[in-house]
Point group: C2
Chain length 340, copies 2
């Protein structure tokens, strides 16, 4: 790997500056992506290796991040598990037949991922060729709890009350469903590694909806299975948004890095994780709407507070679609120009 | 006051059991409320003292909570400030002319609250008569930051990106707007106290969207002004959802109590607030969908963990509309039956 800064930071090695990438850097805010989006619908972009790989490398070409992340979606997993998923413009994901009972759970299959998700593996191979070993490629999956949220709720939600009601009134069925999702996700991430990804990240977007006790039971237990299954193959990053309360427990796992959101100060994040592993984050995505000079100052301060080692500069959640290019550039440049 | 348990807990006195009420107990889940909702639209219910007071006492009649909270809405404040607010069914608040620049801020007025919001004061008087000094009445307001979120975004949002962009790119105008909202809110809450409310609560529903640094600048600074202006008149409760990171700073204020959400364990909440003041919360509203016997066990455990003194039993956010009556009753009964 010509630029191995990201892999070295994940191993905890001393680096000259921290690596940088941005969650959702592929397929959200670049004008060259908008052009592709006008021509092809969401799942066509995911399923066509030439499109997915092109979208993946677009931000690298423009800004030169230290890692690429494959353009895809966490909901390809329920799709492969025999659950219909639509992506409605101006609405988001829509699952017309949500799972709400044991009969629904029974109808969910654990698929052969190489067959059902071969298009992802082909996109990885195409991307690896385009990247030409310049930088590492990240593959990702949603956490089982976050996937359950969509599968049961049937759409996005402020409270995911139907998903929680299902877990709280029907825990046996919920755990059966979570285990099916976990088994599929482990097979999927292993296949991704075999296809070429260098690192995997698990996104627990909705873990922060749960209490600490419920998080342990319905989310962390399954994420930890994924870490244990993958840890010998590649570094595993876990980003559990809103889960500051679980950072200490998560830091005892075999994850290589934990993502943190912007409600956690660098100092608190280091304190809660006892300096045991690499941290990733945590610039408020909306702060990329500040003037570029201010962004640069804030990024430098953030690096100083996290420390340049055992640290990956990132946002605290996905980049917003309306971020000006100069502002995204200021974020990346501030890291590259960083001198302690 | 015949039942002064709530007031005594706010003063930090030793009590035989903690008091209990539920955020959003009025006007959300009761069948007798649904009947009123079918006949009158949202702002008619707010503006008609007979309706607002009836809705306020409905949950007390059925369950006998230790405090009533006036049925109203945080968005009556921007309405009174010359900003149009509509409540769209199945959509939520909609402000057709959001404030996005200094010109918009200039057009916002600080009204005479007794004139513009006299219907609230009349509802308080009507409610106090109905309550007949049985239990205290809480009046509430949104935090200035939370009101700004709606006033600038124009509707609910997952990220309130437009509100944040306004603050981050135009901080002078944002602070002018926040101060206007604060001045109005202080006058409003003082008028409410004069009309008869015994306690006030400030809801910072969207504080948790901000980083700790931005929270201090754009939210806490103004909440603290409200506390200082009201503290001699009545106890002030502040509920800042998602703001665990600010609990320590907030506990140094003159608030009588702080609300906490269910992501904070009782132990962490006590640790962060250094046992300085009363805490209120923090049952996951979705946990009211669990079976009643389990609810009772969880409530008892929650009281044991917070401790019965300096504690007000509540949810960690508003009650969900689909909670069965028996489950709400189990929540209240578990507190009333509590024995250490």
């Amino acid at each position: 790997m010509k630029n191995d800064l990201f892999l070295r930071a994940l191993k905890g090695e001393t680096v000259e500056r921290p690596p940088v990438w941005m969650m959702r850097q592929a397929g959200r805010f670049l004008p060259e992506f908008m052009e592709i989006r006008e021509k092809y619908d969401f799942f066509t972009r995911c399923r066509t290796p030439e499109l997915a790989s092109e979208i993946t490398v677009q931000p690298i070409r423009r800004f030169g991040m230290d890692a690429a992340i494959l353009f895809s979606d966490i909901l390809v997993i329920p799709q492969a598990m025999n659950i219909e998923v639509q992506m409605k413009p101006n609405f988001g994901p829509y699952l017309p037949n949500p799972v709400r009972d044991q009969k629904g759970v029974d109808s969910v299959v654990v698929p052969d991922v190489n067959e059902e998700l071969d298009y992802v593996m082909n996109a990885i191979k195409a991307t690896k060729e385009m990247l030409n070993d310049e930088i590492p490629l990240i593959g990702f999956a949603g956490s089982p709890w976050t996937i359950l949220c969509y599968v049961v709720q049937g759409q996005g939600s402020k409270t995911f009350d139907k998903a929680k009601e299902f877990c709280f009134t029907n825990p046996v069925s919920a755990h059966t469903l979570l285990q099916k999702i976990t088994d599929t996700t482990i097979a999927y991430l292993k296949a991704k590694v075999e296809a070429g990804v260098d690192v995997v990240q698990v996104f627990d977007s909705w873990g922060g909806m749960l209490s600490p006790v419920d998080y342990r039971e319905f989310s962390w237990k399954y994420i930890d299975q994924i870490i244990e299954a993958l840890k010998e193959m590649v570094p595993v990053i876990v980003f559990a948004k809103g889960c500051w309360y679980a950072l200490e427990e998560m830091s005892n796992s075999n994850a290589s890095a934990l993502g943190v959101d912007w409600t956690v100060t660098p100092r608190t994040a280091r304190y809660l994780t006892k300096n045991r592993l690499t941290l990733q984050g945590n610039f408020d995505p909306a702060r990329l709407l500040s003037p570029p000079s201010q962004i640069k100052e804030m990024v430098t301060q953030m690096i100083n507070e996290f420390g340049k080692d055992r640290y990956i500069v990132n946002l605290g959640h996905g980049i917003l679609p309306n971020v000006p290019l100069d502002n995204a550039r200021a974020f990346i440049d501030a890291v590259k120009e960083y001198k302690k």
